[in-house]
């Protein structure tokens, strides 16, 4: 690990100013991703700004009926919060599907959104990687790519964003609040992560020096008709190969409105507004779900090891829509998929 200087920030202002003054600096919150990457020399910040003492650790009612989750609220605190479990059970479920109890105790809301890809080459400074060192190439495209993306890839990078929480937040249309040297702004979650395009080294639209202060959940009518279905190589403590977050508004047997986001398949949580529109006003029926699944995956591109994800994603979408419509969300402890 490289040597670095350490600042324990006492105000948001101080943290932002310190970060803006040093392009090599990084904020650190739970540390579960940054320390890991520093141990591999993938990240080499010369200055760490510890933000854990800032007053960003509360979950509060937002104006207009939503909920505001402070950036330092841990993943476990968010998943266990009675308001989140009651009003946004999809979010609670997705968080519980991720990592381990120990990691969820350290990991924070802000850090989870900004965790970096688990691409093997990205993690290995002995190999080229456009995301780690722009212009060196993408060995994953012609190498081992079982965990890689099938949607929205570019010739420069086929990495996925590994977060489960972000997939639920995408379906719930959350908004990320940030503070920076130029003041505050709010970024819809769908605009927060980006596709790799020509600049895979840039994961998000957050600018250097900007700090996430909170994630806001809008008021929602998506009550009990939800599910977070995560498929992976082992039943727990593993990243998603494919995951699906679904929230439906049901009017009897008819779908009044639908939100669906995929994880493990792209550089960002993947939403398809046209696919969602195909569900609106329709009866909850499997052939309709299959048509939606085909639509969402129609431009998918498989690579040598991950082409299986295309079929897996289609089946997962059908299963998740069925679970949500029936009001029988996937259990995150009894792993049988019903």
């Amino acid at each position: 690990m490289n040597r670095f200087s350490y600042l324990r920030a006492t105000s948001i202002d101080e943290a932002v100013r310190a970060a803006a003054a040093d392009p090599t600096s990084r904020f650190i919150a739970g540390g579960t991703n940054l320390i890991d990457l520093m141990k591999y020399n993938v990240e080499r910040p010369e200055r760490l700004i510890d933000i854990t003492r800032l007053p960003l650790n509360r979950i509060e009612e937002a104006d207009g009926g939503g909920l505001r989750i402070g950036a330092l609220v841990t993943n476990d605190e968010a998943a266990s919060d009675p308001r989140i479990r009651d009003r946004y059970p999809l979010l609670s479920s997705a968080i519980l599907a991720g990592a381990s109890p120990q990691l969820r105790n350290s990991a924070t809301t802000g850090g989870n959104l900004l965790q970096r890809t688990r691409c093997y080459y990205f993690y290995d400074p002995g190999t080229p990687c456009n995301k780690r060192e722009p212009g060196t190439g993408c060995p994953a495209a012609f190498g081992r790519n079982r965990i890689h993306a099938i949607l929205g890839t570019s010739e420069h990078c086929i990495a996925t964003h590994p977060s489960d929480m972000a997939v639920a937040l995408a379906a719930l249309e959350a908004v990320v609040h940030v503070a920076g040297p130029d003041g505050e702004r709010a970024i819809p979650l769908s605009d927060f992560h980006r596709l790799p395009g020509d600049h895979p080294e840039i994961d998000t639209t957050l600018r250097h020096g900007e700090i996430i202060t909170a994630v806001e959940l809008p008021p929602t009518d998506y009550g009990r008709h939800y599910t977070y279905l995560k498929l992976r190589d082992r039943l727990s403590y593993a990243f998603a190969l494919v995951s699906v977050a679904v929230a439906l508004q049901m009017d009897g047997d008819t779908i009044a409105d639908a939100r669906l986001a995929l994880g493990g398949v792209a550089h960002k949580p993947w939403r398809d507004p046209e696919g969602e529109a195909m569900l609106r006003g329709q009866p909850a029926a499997e052939d309709r779900f299959a048509a939606v699944a085909s639509h969402i995956l129609k431009d998918a591109k498989g690579y040598e090891d991950n082409a299986f994800k295309i079929d897996l994603a289609k089946r997962a979408i059908i299963r998740a829509l069925s679970q949500a419509a029936a009001g029988t969300p996937q259990s995150q402890t009894d792993k049988r998929i019903q």
Partner: protein, 171 residues
């Protein structure tokens, strides 16, 4: 020291850190990159906490910080200034094993023993969290602790015994 960094003259200063470890107040001056796991093992000679993967992937380094189980390999010690840390060495009280330590012996819940301190710290926290009631739930909420020897069935038995005994006592 690796290339590309300033010489030792500008090395960041050591930072004073106070931790309460197993009930004892410990004051240390640490370098910013000292990881909590290494501080426990190398600076405080508390070698009960194990280093398995050093990357948050196995749970061997699990300790309880301010009542929460965490992976000590994924935490810088400076960031935990002022915290209360419990390691496997701090679980026995007045010579009596913690009930979960005893249950691990009763159920033969280890083979090589390398994952055991982490398993027990994780299990103690799980029992205090009070969220696991069924075997499925115990398995899921213990999934952050890998056992290479595959002692899982007996580990779940041991935890179930303590949860069951607590339930009895509470009645």
């Amino acid at each position: 020291m690796s290339a590309g960094h300033s010489g030792s003259a500008t090395l960041p200063e050591r930072i004073p850190v106070t931790l309460t470890v197993n009930g004892e107040v410990r004051q240390l001056d640490v370098l910013p990159w000292t990881v909590l796991l290494d501080l426990l093992r190398d600076h405080l000679a508390l070698t009960g906490t194990k280093k398995g993967c050093d990357h948050g992937q196995c749970g061997a380094c699990t300790v309880i910080v301010d009542g929460k189980r965490i992976n000590s390999c994924m935490a810088f010690a400076v960031m935990k200034d002022g915290s209360n840390v419990t390691t496997i060495e701090g679980l026995a009280k007045d010579g009596a094993l913690h009930p979960l330590q005893q249950a691990f012996i009763d159920h033969d819940a280890f083979q090589c023993g390398y994952c055991t301190p982490g398993q027990i710290c994780s299990g103690v926290a799980l029992i205090e969290e009070g969220r696991a009631k069924t075997r499925d739930e115990i398995r899921e909420f213990m999934s952050g602790n890998i056992c290479r020897c595959g002692a899982y069935t007996n580990i779940v038995d041991a935890i179930e015994q303590v949860i069951g005994a607590n339930g009895e006592a509470g009645r």
